[in-house]
Symmetry: C2
Subunit: 69 residues, 2 copies
């Protein structure tokens, strides 16, 4: 499992915990809904600046998105 | 300070601790020396796959590269 899969699982888990839909998370982070979907599935390869935006919306530190369970 | 600066400081610190030059780290990770230099200065915006490669060479978990001091 590489960081794309780890981030994907963490983003999905946190998004659901926050009660966001993929559309809401995409809107809040300024990303496209299909891009957020790809991040959650681990098929996108986001940059650090995208990680920062997702972490800010999900109210965690960026490194927490890369932490395996 | 965003994740680019945090990663840059951590990569530089770990590289020096491991006794690598920028050239050696670049060679080991398959990146260009000027790219590694840009990552260390926080002016590049690496993707998760680049973070994984740097972390592997530096023998840390990828999330550790994003941890502030």
């Amino acid at each position: 499992m590489d960081s794309r899969q780890i981030v994907g699982k963490n983003v999905r888990k946190l998004r659901v915990e926050r009660g966001f839909s993929q559309e809401q998370l995409a809107f809040e982070t300024g990303l496209h809904r299909t891009y957020v979907s790809g991040v959650e599935r681990g098929v996108r390869n986001p940059t650090l600046l995208v990680i920062d935006r997702l972490a800010k919306t999900l109210k965690v530190a960026p490194y927490e998105l890369l932490m395996p369970e």
